[in-house]
Symmetry: C2
Subunit: 261 residues, 2 copies
């Protein structure tokens, strides 16, 4: 039932009835995708500081005016890249719900997916982080921010499904006063915080000196142990879960990275 609402909400966003769109609108949608890829490539080659609307226009076959037809400011473009990031992450999260394993293993598979995506698309991931930053929110279109918020809400309902799984199986028992929303938020905060710090490890000696082992999994395990989510990390080998999730759920993404799962 809960999964049904996820299905509906995702479908409303992903399976837009193309027949209801005019040819122009379809072309518009394709062009936007094209522009986003160009923007991402500019950042990849030259860095965020070098991302200019001129460069995006020059690298595309369109004029600056047309770019502004899609994005009402540079920050709006970055928010659009964040939307691209989230829309590609959500299906990976959803896939993890069907991962073959305990409720906690499924949850860990989701975090593995988040990490795989951040490696596959570091720039889009960075945009998703930066999109929570005032410089961006102050200048992007309200409709854009609303769409970002909608996707975030879907992410939360998917997150909630993992928690419900745990509760239903009896492997997760919430203390009184703790809601499933709280647990989703805690997972989100830990995932976000860890990935944000790891992303900037190059600038930070104290982070980079622990990158030799799986720090993301370790942090998630600290949290899930704290929730008492059975089996605890002392009772089960979640390194193996992590590796298995990479192989069974995300091998396509990893192949693009040239990494074996």
């Amino acid at each position: 039932m809960l999964e049904q609402t996820i299905e509906n909400r995702m479908s409303a966003i992903y399976n837009v009835d193309t027949s209801s769109l005019s040819r122009k609108q379809l072309a518009m949608r394709d062009r936007e995708k094209e522009l986003l890829e160009i923007a991402r490539d500019v950042v990849m080659r030259e860095g965020f500081a070098q991302l200019t609307m001129d460069k995006v226009a020059a690298a595309s076959s369109y004029s600056k005016g047309t770019i502004y037809n899609h994005f009402n400011s540079k920050e709006d473009l970055i928010a659009a890249l964040a939307i691209e990031a989230l829309s590609r992450e959500l299906p990976m999260f959803k896939r993890s719900l069907a991962f073959d394993g305990s409720s906690r293993e499924k949850c860990i598979a989701m975090h593995a997916g988040y990490f795989v995506f951040s490696q596959l698309e570091p720039i889009l991931s960075m945009c998703a982080m930066v999109s929570r930053t005032p410089a961006v929110t102050e200048k992007s279109a309200p409709e854009r921010l609303q769409k970002l918020n909608e996707l975030e809400e879907i992410a939360v309902s998917i997150g909630d499904a993992f928690i419900q799984n745990g509760i239903n199986s009896g492997e997760l028992v919430l203390n009184p006063g703790v809601t499933s929303d709280n647990v989703v938020f805690a997972n989100w905060a830990m995932g976000f915080g860890t990935n944000a710090l790891v992303h900037n490890a190059e600038h930070s000696t104290c982070v980079s000196r622990q990158l030799n082992h799986n720090i993301v999994l370790q942090n998630i395990n600290f949290l899930l142990d704290g929730l008492g989510w059975k089996p605890l990390s002392t009772e089960f080998d979640y390194e193996q879960t992590w590796a298995r999730a990479r192989k069974e759920l995300f091998s396509e993404e990893l192949a693009l990275l040239g990494q074996e799962a």
Copy 2:
């Protein structure tokens, strides 16, 4: 012994031998502080998007050229604001080491301090977050980033002192394979992630709907429970610890906020 090194490192940064500085250098230092405050006020009044070097110059009694004498780019100015944030947070963290309570209570007091500071100085806190963003790191002065890194290292050694406290008291026992660095990092990631998301709660329905209770403390307790740090949150009232830390350690800061501890 460990505390001694913290003392030394902080002293090297905070208690600069003023007699070794020429009058000019002292004036330079004061002016930099003045400029930082002006920049913060511009952001406070008009938002990050409206922060320009012109406005900072106009609001000060100096010319644009002099501003560039201090900060070699706008991003460098933001990094300097991040340094201001960290240098004011570190003494608050250090104060928490002397908090009257168990090793875990001390650690929670530190997180309370982090939260108080983020309320007292939301813009400086935001700068500390944004300073980990490529747009800033790509353009700020290497020496500035190095200073930021030094402060971060001190923060990590202070964090380490909390963990050592726990280990020495026997209230915290690390599982094999877990280092004290890892635990510091986990606390950092959770604190950073939670505060980052809470900061943007206005834009996010799923975060803002849980702001009615102490979500920061809850997340930290999940983590510390996961580390097995005694007494667990089920055995002890850390809400009271949080409140007490506010009163006993941070009442000055809270007074500035006009909040009673």
